[in-house]
């Protein structure tokens, strides 16, 4: 990797860190799109600064961008505060009208002497490949400044994200905190404009944070993780752009971030889609098994009560309990493998161990039934809403009494040979 590429990679990675860290707070404030708005709103500042100074030096252009973005922030809060329009409309209005103004100024700038398109155009789509040593120093400085700011004001930003009213209550100047935060976003946007452009800077402020959110519920983990994802996106996008001559870095960085997000959404251990669907599959399986055990118990109890052998046919399961033979078959086979049922001549019989477990399942289900019937008379409650409900121990005797009153107590007791009716 040559020195130039190293500069580009360092620059984009640091940009990712800044975007990721600030984006976490913006995301939790439900203001994920503010970066998008500010990135657009900065354009008239860039073009205006060029018209005013006549140079394409980065300093004045970035200063102009910052001024315009701040004006955008103020306009946005003024619209949301002083009219009946909601925050989303205020954001869209500022985004599009400022951007239109920017394009108009850009048009004027292009006709002025020395203002050919190539210099200013890169603010629209970015030109990461043109990052040089000096830019990296600017980006590094800004990224370090932003990280330091977040470190210093972590508590304040956290309150801003989660509970600004509480912040006001304990005497913090939350309006000032919000302004500082917005200025920080403006700084991140402004340094990002050159590298990834107006249009795609927004992504660096949303996507890494959204990816980090999948992995953790804790802010002090989410912020560094989001920064790490941002850095990874920057480096990865830059690396891929080296592959071909016509691979623009900005979009590739965004796509790298999107890839990290998709992977996080699928694979994250608790909130990830894969983990969640596995969890719900397991729960469904367990519930099915429970339902089958209860059905076997009920039918066996009934048969034993009528003086017959407590055996159950698949046909009875289907007709009496609505468990179709098609799904009962594999489930019964699984119970047989666990040693809970035996098959004999097309009928199924609970083994000793099977009866013990089925007894518990049936008892639990019937306790739940009387619990629901008498819920209004009870103080205590349930401790667990899982597949097999559990009750607070102090209400169990009362529930058992009701169970007997209703004649619902399970009569086929485990421990005896199956078939004895207690």
């Amino acid at each position: 990797m040559d020195a130039n590429t190293q500069w580009v990679m360092t620059g984009t990675a640091l940009l990712g860190v800044a975007g990721g860290v600030l984006g976490s707070f913006a995301l939790l404030r439900r203001r994920a799109l503010v970066g998008d708005v500010l990135a657009h709103a900065a354009l008239p500042g860039v073009a205006g600064a060029f018209l005013a100074t006549g140079t394409k030096a980065v300093g004045p252009l970035l200063a102009g961008a910052a001024i315009a973005a701040v004006a955008g922030v103020l306009t946005m809060s003024a619209i949301a505060r002083f009219s009946r329009l909601k925050a989303d409309a205020a954001m869209s209005l500022v985004l599009t009208v400022f951007f239109g103004l920017g394009i108009m100024l850009l048009g004027a700038a292009q006709r002025s002497p020395g203002g050919n398109q190539s210099g200013l155009d890169k603010f629209l789509f970015g030109q990461a490949a043109a990052i040089v040593g000096r830019d990296v120093r600017v980006i590094t400085l800004a990224a370090a400044l932003l990280c330091l700011l977040v470190l210093l004001l972590f508590k304040e930003f956290k309150l801003l994200a989660f509970d600004p009213e509480f912040g006001v209550g304990i005497g913090l100047p939350m309006a000032a905190v919000e302004l500082v935060f917005n200025l920080a976003v403006v700084l991140a946007v402004v340094i990002g404009l050159e590298a990834v452009g107006v249009v795609l800077m927004a992504a660096l402020l949303v996507t890494p944070a959204a990816a980090a959110r999948c992995w953790t519920d804790r802010l002090h983990l989410m912020v560094p993780l989001s920064g790490l994802f941002g850095a990874l996106s920057g480096a990865l996008g830059t690396a891929v752009s080296l592959v071909g001559p016509r691979m623009p870095t900005g979009p590739l960085i965004v796509l790298a971030a999107t890839g990290i997000f998709v992977a996080s959404l699928l694979l994250a251990p608790r909130r990830g889609l894969l983990a969640r669907s596995l969890r719900s599959l397991r729960t469904r399986k367990a519930a099915q098994r429970e339902r089958l055990l209860v059905a076997l118990y009920d039918l066996a109890e009934e048969a034993a009560g009528a003086g017959n052998a407590p055996a159950v046919t698949a046909e009875a399961l289907e007709r009496r309990r609505g468990i179709p033979a098609r799904s009962a078959g594999p489930q019964l086979a699984r119970l047989a493998r666990e040693g809970l049922v035996d098959e004999a001549g097309g009928t199924w019989k609970l083994t000793g161990r099977g009866l013990a477990e089925a007894y518990q399942a049936a008892r639990s289900e019937r306790l739940h039934l009387v619990y629901l019937m008498h819920q209004a008379d009870l103080d205590g409650g349930m401790t667990d809403q899982g597949v097999r409900p559990a009750f607070a121990p102090e209400i169990v005797p009362q529930l058992e009494q009701w169970l007997r009153q209703h004649g619902l107590e399970p009569r086929l007791l485990p421990g005896h040979t199956a078939g004895e009716v207690g």
Partner: protein, 292 residues
């Protein structure tokens, strides 16, 4: 065509603005204007793919491809929401990803096709009078006049046909659901219309300024009235006015027509923000003073 050119440009602009204002008003009421922003970006890969496949601009495939990706974006936002990603974050992730894909496709493959990033940004409205629709030997007039007019009529027909349902869904989706309206279906109907209108706007005024047409006239109208039917009419009228003013502004300053239209719409909004009879800043301030 020369003498009529300004008229054609203004009319195309007005039709785009009208189409966008009709659907944009519903987006505004549902607090989903940023989704309009997202969709108008997300249509880019659809247009790029259609270009790559058909090899020429202005094909009906571009419209189809764009509408498909606009819908995909709306769908992704909903799907992400179901997966626990909040709407604003999901919107940001989905549209930046799709837009990046579009830019990548264009710069990697479409160098020789007539589709450059300038077109994406500024649209082609200034050339609209000279791009004629030829059927055999006969010219039917500027093509954009037909396409944007058709899309305006499509939106108008949909709004007239489903006015009650769209209104119900916009103001009170829960009750609408309870009343047996398929809120989901109408959500996607609205998103389809937004996508199609965004494409029309995209072609005429470019990606980002399409949002101006979706949001600014309807937001202005929202400050001027409390009745939805009046708001829709006002929004369409304001859009047309912004188109005419924008054209004049662009002639006066010699700048992009599309950008000037957006800025004009912004100017009209600023007027309403301060001077609207009931909801304007001055009226509010007066009311507060006479109250206190």
């Amino acid at each position: 065509m020369g003498a009529l050119a300004p008229l054609v440009i203004i009319l195309v602009g007005a039709q785009v603005a009208g189409a966008c204002a009709l659907v944009g008003s519903f987006l505004l009421l549902r607090r989903m204007t940023m989704l309009g922003d997202a969709i108008s970006h997300a249509v880019l890969p659809g247009i790029a793919v259609a270009f790559l496949l058909s090899g020429r601009p202005q094909s009906p495939w571009a419209l189809l491809g764009a509408a498909a990706f606009g819908l995909l974006c709306a769908y992704l936002v909903q799907a992400l929401q179901r997966a626990g990603v909040r709407e604003d974050a999901g919107t940001g992730v989905a549209f930046t990803g799709l837009f990046a894909l579009g830019v990548l496709l264009i710069s990697a493959f479409a160098d020789h096709v007539h589709l450059d990033l300038d077109h994406v940004l500024y649209g082609e409205i200034a050339y609209a009078p000279w791009d004629l629709w030829l059927v055999g030997e006969r010219s039917l007039g500027p093509r954009a006049l037909w396409t944007t007019g058709g899309i305006f009529l499509l939106d108008l027909a949909a709004v007239l046909l489903f006015y009650k349902e769209l209104k119900f869904c916009a103001f009170d989706p829960e009750t609408a659901e309870a009343a047996g309206i398929n809120v989901r279906a109408f959500h996607y109907l609205l998103m389809t219309l937004v996508s199609v209108s965004a494409v029309a706007a995209f072609d005429a005024v470019g990606a980002i300024l399409a949002v101006a047409m979706l949001v600014v006239p309807s937001a202005t109208a929202y400050l001027l009235t409390d009745r939805l039917s009046v708001m829709l009419g006002l929004a369409v009228g304001l859009g047309a006015l912004a188109s005419a003013l924008g054209y004049l502004l662009s002639r006066a300053t010699d700048t992009s027509v599309a950008a000037a239209m957006a800025v004009s719409a912004g100017g009209l909004f600023a007027l309403a923000f301060f001077l609207a009879p009931r909801h304007g800043l001055v009226a509010r301030w007066r009311r507060r003073r006479s109250d206190g």
